[in-house]
């Protein structure tokens, strides 16, 4: 094993101080992604700053928002009564992810920061622009069944693998970030990036920043919602395609609607055009189908993932159907 220094800290301030001191330092949260990447030789930090003892685990309501600490475990968030009652879409999305054991240690911050599951990225003997710039994209003409159909670049067609983040982007969450210069907020939808010509960057977190938590506005989407994850086995598998769907409905008219997709892009993919179309319309199968078609504009397959061009709209329709029939 490549040696590294293990540091433990109990405040966000000291964690950030340690981070900026060393270019090659990384935060260690649940470790469920970072340790795997270290074992595979994909990353080799010289310092691990264990932030598990930093008190950022709280889940609470402040005014009209739910605040979630970056170190709350995926299980703690999914099971919290506030989340189940006010943001059940988030609870469902979390429970669709990984396995119970992983969710028990995985944290909110770590989940947002988790890296793609592209097999070429994980195998240091293979070409991968994300891991090692300029080596080429192994997936482009290789095994790309799991890969993106939206917003792809010539350099990288990987997907962001998180389930939680799909719900968060749908729920208009905000991310609270901190650095030595203080705190700032960022819309969740702006947190992750497309690969573009910087495939090595997954998100817009700056090198000297720490994720402190999330703020999510309370909404009227707790009745008609569904997180539908299509995968190769019934649990403990990443999404082929997933859809977070929620709407507020009155007299069968859609007042507010949120749609986001996972497993299709380098970032959580919000379906703005489909939402716009559905708003004010009847919650009917016909409208769902049209919304799904609108979502597919600009979709592009790479051979192995061509089936997503059909699966994605189908999953949108089915998620909307299931959200409608909830009540």
């Amino acid at each position: 094993m490549i040696n590294f220094q293990y540091l433990r800290t109990t405040t966000a301030k000291s964690a950030i101080a340690l981070l900026v001191k060393d270019k090659n330092a990384k935060f260690l949260a649940g470790g469920t992604n970072l340790i795997d990447l270290m074992k595979r030789g994909v990353t080799a930090p010289e310092k691990l700053i264990d932030i598990n003892h930093v008190p950022l685990k709280e889940i609470k309501q402040v005014g009209n928002k739910i605040h979630i600490g970056a170190l709350a475990s995926n299980t703690a968030v999914a099971d919290h009564v506030l989340i189940k009652e006010k943001l059940p879409l988030l609870s469902w999305a979390l429970q669709a992810g990984a396995s119970a054991q992983l969710r028990n240690v995985a944290t909110v911050g770590g989940n947002m920061m988790q890296r793609t599951r592209c097999g070429y990225f994980y195998d240091i003997e293979m070409p991968c622009n994300k891991r090692q710039s300029g080596t080429g994209c192994g997936a482009m003409e290789g095994f790309n069944r799991m890969h993106a159909i939206f917003g792809t670049s010539e350099q990288c067609i990987a997907v962001h693998p998180s389930d939680m983040c799909i719900a968060l982007v749908a729920l208009d969450a905000e991310v609270v970030l901190a650095s030595t210069k203080g705190e700032r907020k960022m819309l969740f939808k702006d947190f992750h990036r497309l690969a573009g010509d910087t495939p090595h960057l997954d998100n817009n977190l700056k090198a000297d920043e720490m994720i402190i938590g999330l703020e999510i506005p309370i909404n009227n989407l707790a009745k008609n919602y569904h997180y539908l994850k299509v995968r190769d086995r019934a649990s403990y598998a990443f999404a082929l395609v997933s859809v977070a769907a929620a709407f507020e409905i009155a007299d069968n008219k859609i007042i507010d609607v949120r749609l986001a997709m996972g497993g299709v892009a380098h970032k959580p993919w919000r379906l703005t055009a489909s939402e716009l179309f559905l708003r004010g319309k009847e919650a009917s199968l016909n409208n769902f189908e049209q919304a799904a078609q609108l979502a597919m504009k600009d979709a592009k397959g790479f051979g192995g993932n061509d089936f997503k061009l059909k699966l994605a709209p189908n999953t949108i329709i089915e998620a909307l159907n299931l959200a409608k029939s909830k009540a």
């Binding site: 070429y120 003997e125 293979m126 095994f143 086995r233 019934a234 403990y236």
Partner: protein, 707 residues
């Protein structure tokens, strides 16, 4: 899950040890001075090593030795010409990507792992091919006959039948992936004395292989393998990595432990090879089969040939006067395959049992009815009666329990929202093997019985089965019987494979018990005791602390007179989501027809495990290679999808439980393989019944449903 029909279920004799963590697996042995080996693997697929720089690794902290073809320790058999091509460290040739090329030994596992990353190889690369489809199409590719062509009656008779079909089926590589990682601890002592703690399905086989390679007397080698955390066939041979570990121990004079990584499980310990099969079926309009042609192509390696019984079933499973089969193996630049649960037959049954269903559909017949109509009374291949076969009864039990009457013959008839429901059936069959084994029985005056045999238990519950056989014959309570296995110094027994252990070793247990009983009866008679006297009293009266008998047992003439097979029927009900392509198995009914059920609880576990393996084969498991590089893409448990609990519905296990009058004294036939064989076809057939879509390429993933 439903309760078994059989009563008097006994727990596993080692169940307590297993669930409390007290059962000791090979990697858990802590020998004094133990060192740790990590294998360095090739990163090219074919060619030669031109240089190997081990300097940095040798200098790394804690490193004791780096062993490779540059400093190979002596291994007598490898120094000679001929023999296997893959002589580890005795060749600079690369046969596949991920082949072990060096072993780094250090005083901790972490240090060995790090140092292994410092070994740098350069290669002379050659062009290669890992793509089986491509090899099949390539006229220049080598092809070998895997089994003699078979012909009964007219060849390709299906072509002129009233109703005919010809279809092609593809099975990808599957990897066994037992939970326990493979490896070995080797402790080579002065005077060529060797003790190993192995993960093996055959302690005698491991002993023999090592003795052969190093040319040391068999008695010098002690192999221990009491508990095995799953094998499914991958531990049926001693792999190069194990020889490398023994070499390392010999070289440094210390015990060395190697436990390979999950990724290395894909390249060092075999797999179920990919197969391409075509089935031609012909029938008359009344639904009688008139021709069966089964042609199979199986994958093998370039350095060693591997064959399995892919086309066996077609020769006797159905009444048909015209049958022909062929089986050809084609080398690709991958590691050599090995038998995986239901070897060959599971591959063949997917194709044959899918085709049978397709034919029933073409005839507009109920596939169950079609099978019954073509069920043979005798084995037409061997021209012998079956020793026992209760398939029709099994069909009936299964059909009732799955609710076959609710099935509609027209596909796509049962629809509820996006969900389509379908029913499928298939049959599985495997040779009812019985080999030769010895068992020692020690009957003691304290009322206990100790039984010993160098057999293995990779999970089926061998000790439990043997204990119950003795318990029944001797009337000694189960907790007074001990069955020892997994130790090469015990009386010899074959490896645990081919569903033969219960039949083979159980027969020897039977014979030992019978002999012990008659010895006791004699002793009783000689000492004027009642013939029914308790053995404890008889031994005491004769001042004997114990009596000891060893018996060797094997099959006899019955083998020539009867065709002996175990059978299984699998019924599944599936739901398929027409929008998302998700297939959900809703219910499973499996019926085993394998003679007497000796140990109901572990027998049931076998059937459950087989069904779960079958779900994997049908729906989720596939080892994916990027053929441009010859490397596996999904070589980990996140991406190689073994079924999880959520994929597994209620499994209703049933047994015919009628003794086979000929096979062995217990009337019991093996069932490890039939638990899985055929299962994947039942799922494919159910998916067809649900959707009208015939999927001939496994696994049946959502993309294939939507295609």
């Amino acid at each position: 899950m439903e309760k078994n029909m059989l009563k008097d279920e006994n727990d596993r004799v080692d169940g307590f040890l297993k669930v409390t963590g007290k059962a000791k697996y090979f990697a858990e042995y802590e020998l004094p001075g133990l060192t740790y080996g990590v294998l360095v693997t090739s990163t090219i697929t074919k060619g030669k090593i031109t240089s190997l720089d081990t300097k940095a690794a040798e200098k790394a902290p804690g490193v004791i030795a780096v062993i490779s073809h540059l400093n190979k320790p002596s291994a007598a058999a490898y120094e000679q010409e001929g023999g296997p091509q893959m002589k580890i460290f005795y060749t600079d040739k690369i046969f596949y990507n991920g082949q072990p090329i060096a072993i780094v030994v250090a005083n901790t596992f972490e240090r060995a792992t790090y140092a292994a990353s410092l070994v740098k190889a350069t290669y002379a690369k050659e062009t290669f091919n890992t793509d089986f489809e491509k090899a099949l199409k390539d006229p220049k590719a080598k092809k070998f006959q895997g089994q003699a062509d078979y012909k009964r009656g007219e060849e390709n008779a299906y072509k002129t039948a009233e109703v005919k079909l010809e279809e092609r089926y593809f099975l990808p590589i599957e990897t066994h992936n037992p939970m326990e990682l493979h490896g070995i601890i080797a402790d080579w002592r002065p005077n060529n004395q060797l003790t190993v703690y192995a993960k093996t399905q055959g302690v005698k086989a491991t002993q023999g292989t090592i003795a052969n390679v190093f040319k040391i007397p068999i008695e010098n080698i002690q192999v221990n393998s009491e508990f095995v955390g799953g094998g499914f066939g991958m531990a049926l041979r001693t792999w190069p990595l194990e020889i490398a570990t023994v070499m390392a121990s010999k070289h440094i004079g210390k015990p060395v432990k190697v436990v390979i990584t999950r990724m290395q499980m894909f390249t060092m310990v075999g797999n179920r090879p990919a197969a391409i099969q075509t089935i031609g079926l012909g029938a008359n309009k009344d639904g009688k089969l008139t021709g069966i042609t089964h042609r199979a192509y199986g994958e093998t390696s370039t350095y060693e040939n591997f064959t399995e019984g892919v086309v066996n079933m077609a020769k006797f499973m159905y009444q048909c006067d015209n049958v022909n089969t062929s089986y050809v193996i084609i080398p690709v630049d991958l590691g050599v395959p090995i038998w995986m649960r239901g070897p060959g037959e599971a591959t063949g049954a997917f194709a044959l049992e899918s085709a049978i269903d397709e034919m029933a559909h073409a005839l507009d017949m109920d596939p169950l009815e079609f099978r019954i109509k073509n069920d043979p009374e005798t084995d037409q291949q061997k021209n012998k009666p079956f020793s026992s076969k209760n398939i029709k009864e099994a069909y009936k039990i299964g059909a009732d329990k799955i609710g076959w009457r609710n099935r509609k013959n027209k596909p796509g008839s049962l629809v509820e929202g996006p969900w389509q429901t379908g029913y499928g059936v298939s049959v599985g069959v495997f040779n009812a093997n019985r080999g030769k084994a010895s068992v020692k029985g020690i009957l003691k005056a304290d009322g206990s019985l100790l039984l010993q045999s160098a057999t293995s238990d990779i999970g089926p519950g061998t000790g439990t089965g043997m204990t119950l056989i003795a318990n029944k014959l001797m009337n000694i309570p189960v907790n007074k019987i001990t069955f020892e296995l997994g130790d090469s110094s015990l009386p010899p027994a074959p490896s645990q494979g081919g569903s033969a252990t219960l039949s083979t070793v159980g027969s020897a247990v039977n014979d030992v018990c019978v002999a012990l009983k008659s010895t006791i009866a004699e002793l009783a008679a000689n000492s004027n005791m009642d013939a029914t006297a308790n053995f404890v009293d008889v031994l005491k009266k004769n001042n004997l602390p114990q009596i000891e008998i060893t018996k060797e047992s094997q099959s006899g003439k019955e083998k020539d007179s009867y065709s002996m097979y175990s059978f299984s029927i699998h019924f599944v009900q599936v739901k398929v989501n027409s929008l998302t392509g998700v297939v959900k198995i809703n219910k499973i009914v499996s019926v085993g027809d394998s003679g007497t059920i000796v140990s109901p609880k572990t027998a049931r576990s076998q059937m459950v495990g087989g069904a779960v393996g079958g779900i994997g084969m049908a729906l989720t498991e596939e080892s994916i290679i990027d053929h441009r590089y010859g490397r596996y893409i999904n070589n980990n448990f996140a991406d190689y999808h073994v079924p999880v609990n959520a994929d597994v519905p209620e499994i209703d296990v049933n047994f015919i439980n009628k003794p086979d009058p000929y096979i062995n004294p217990m009337g019991a036939k093996g069932m490890g393989e039939i638990a899985l064989i055929g299962f994947s076809a039942a799922v494919a057939n159910a998916v067809f019944n649900a959707t009208g879509k015939r999927i001939r390429t496994l696994p049946i993933t959502p993309d294939k449903i939507l295609a």
